[in-house]
Symmetry: C2
Subunit: 414 residues, 2 copies
DNA sequence: AGTATTTTTTCGAGGCTCGAAAAAATTAGA
DNA sequence: TCTAATTTTTTCGAGCCTCGAAAAAATACT
């Protein structure tokens, strides 16, 4: 059951709140922080002077835009870029990338690699991931001790404590405990995150006005994924990363899905399904392993050009997504949607059927007011999400810890 | 954004935690409370002596079962039944009931009435609800000032702040702001709750071992409703009570639903749908307004007796529920399910097809391990849920308030 | 230069939780 | 019956934390 609040938790939480206010606002003054947090000026003053002394925050000496106002000018507080760093790893189909991010969220160093994830044996896949991390950590420009967190994002299902990949479409391997491996090898706390969840996290940072408390990020790519934020919290399943929108049932007993089952939304709206329908192949036929982005672009071009099986394939995809969203909206009420991934560039072909379908559902009431954004490039989004997630962890668990500080990570302590 | 923790919040929250520990455990000693909350003995001692002085808790003088142990015997703390009372109102099809519940959750007084909700004009429906509340409050045995909260549960959709009924199958009327009306009339804070949500709340109180952090309560009755608890929290939509499981799409363009749309789960699994299929009427035919419980029992009996359209109707219901649950489990991962309502008595007819369907879904992996409980009688469950919800409000907002006490409600204050 | 204004820091007061020790209430054993 | 042991509960002082008020700091206006 939930536990009482101890006296020391109080400072911890308020510290975390100040850090998060600075991260969100950029360069807020102490007065602004007091206003947004509801704490008194004295408290903010005390906490921020602690944080500055510990090297977590710094007063921004930046050339202030003239304050115009009379009175003592506000002095902005900013995150100290050197307070810590995090490492992000993104593992997707045939592609591996890693980046070092400073405490303010800026990319410091980056590395990308192509590899054949589908055929790679388990050991080699793991070795490649560990190797790219090791190379980034050995960068001579980097103080390894400052790296406080590793976040690895992967397409597929992860467990809910974010310790392991359970299943992924990019490899036949299952149940890889990446987090434990990384922690054992490098002694840095690590998590394994679902790629779509990280997209959602990133969208909120990019556009907090649109993506605030409740929204949906859908990845349109070879498969269909979803990241869901409800009531300001990233939604995960009770045991897994959850939110397997692509495997909700669109038509019982319908088209064959990559997961081996029938009638999943993905079996109509994944790239392989659009391809299969555009080629007028049977819905029973085995999903192909990969369709290149170029092929999908060509398909979309033909669909735009003239009515035919290609256009019909996109229509079916839209219908599946629309009924699926309608069912989802019946559960959670309508919310803004972001369509992410290469196929989001073909959303013009998908949208009409999607809206028509959603209008036939209970969740699609006032379907005109439901708005869709598109973002064709998912990779930067995933990396940004990972970075923000890892940094939030540092903010909360390392710089505002419950028990005691991890002194190795802290710098500039008086 | 989230707000800082003030110093006085601390006591408030810990008070609330002590109260809730007592409500949960029944008669815990101070030592037990200290253990479950993680707070120190001194803190628990201080808080509980406050609560006793204020008449919220009382030391249970009850004949202790011999403690068997050496040492000073534990003295149990219990809720003071007279500390407050709440009023529950349940409005369902052709039926209205109200009850006064004491602070320990015991029913003190009760009243039930039949009324024709489907044809009743708006004013009369509202008048009936207000009247039953007024009669209960005028009971000479009751100290009106002790009534600290009214909770009204209604079949249908409520808004997420629990202030109004938005839509309900039991009446053609929409958008009735019951909470405001009750508060204006009686000066007692009120909420309007969804019936299935209250079922879920009650299930957790009845059987916290099975229904703890994640579970699903499904109402099988004329329509199909759901109450959902995720991560220990009652799940509601972003704008409405949400969780409209019955209106997820089972078959796009399929059977005509009571909501006017097509292919909803309810259009296969609601009583009217089972009836329609059993009578081999067209799936297009208009849903009938009501089927009596006796007729449904007769239908189930015939279905058990021999194969035929009745059995097939239950099979279709099971299929719809199974695919729907599969889609839901794809989103939230599998969780225990309670089937509530008169038709839960026919769950033996539904279960085989349900399990077969769910096994065909991604969410239905290991479908054998998904367990179903049945509870045919929903009304007591709804009332219990209302009572617990209202009492939790009193615990948290009145007896552990942030700003200041509401002196009118408090008794026995030194 | 002096005054008004706004931000930030300082300082004492009041609360809260905690640990240690004391007090209370019972059982086990002599 | 009396004493020692044991367990629960209360008491008390220490240490933090936040807050409000006042002071200090830093600028614009006149």
């Amino acid at each position: 059951m939930s536990v009482g609040i101890r006296h020391d938790d109080l400072r911890r939480r308020n510290r975390a709140m100040v850090i998060s206010a600075v991260r969100r606002a950029g360069q807020p003054s102490r007065t602004e922080i007091a206003a947004t947090t509801g704490l008194s000026h004295s408290t903010i003053s005390a906490i921020s002077s602690d944080l500055i002394r510990e090297g977590i925050l710094a007063e921004s000496k930046a050339s202030e835009p003239v304050s115009l106002k009379r009175g003592r000018p506000q002095v902005g507080l900013a995150l100290n870029p050197e307070a810590a760093a995090v490492l992000t790893v993104v593992l997707s189909l045939n592609f591996l990338s890693a980046a070092i991010i400073d405490y303010t969220g800026q990319v410091v160093a980056e590395e990308q690699r192509r590899l054949d994830t589908l055929t790679m044996p388990r050991d080699e896949l793991i070795r490649e991931c560990m190797a790219i991390v090791r190379r980034r950590l050995q960068d001579p420009d980097l103080d390894v001790r400052s790296v406080a967190r590793i976040a690895l994002a992967i397409q597929g299902i992860t467990d809910s404590p974010a310790r392991a990949m359970l299943w992924s479409p990019i490899t036949p391997q299952t149940d890889i405990a990446f987090a434990d491996m990384l922690e054992d090898e490098f002694g840095i706390p690590a998590t394994v995150e679902n790629d779509c969840n990280m997209m959602a996290v990133a969208l909120r940072w990019r556009n907090p006005d649109r993506y605030r408390d409740d929204f949906i990020a859908i990845l349109l790519s070879h498969g269909i994924g979803m990241g869901l934020v409800l009531k300001g919290e990233l939604f995960t399943g009770t045991h897994s990363s959850g939110g397997e929108f692509g495997h909700m049932i669109h038509r019982p007993g319908g088209a064959l899905c990559r997961c081996g089952r029938r009638g999943c939304i993905e079996a109509y709206a994944g790239n392989y399904a659009i391809w299969r329908n555009a080629r007028q192949m049977s819905e029973e036929s085995e999903p192909i392993a990969d369709v290149s982005d170029a092929d999908m672009r060509a398909l979309a071009a033909r669909a735009r050009e003239k009515d035919g099986p290609e256009r019909e394939a996109y229509r079916k995809a839209g219908e599946a997504l629309g009924f699926g969203l309608g069912s989802l909206f019946a559960l959670i009420d309508p919310a803004p949607v972001a369509m992410v991934g290469a196929s989001a560039a073909a959303f013009d072909l998908i949208e009409p059927a999607l809206r028509k379908a959603i209008a036939q559902t209970a969740g699609g009431q006032h379907s005109d007011s439901i708005s869709f954004d598109t973002e064709p490039n998912e990779l930067p989004l995933i990396r940004e999400g990972c970075a923000m997630r890892a940094l939030s962890f540092v903010d909360q668990e390392i710089f505002a810890p419950g028990a005691q500080m991890r002194p190795s990570v802290r710098k500039n302590v008086a």
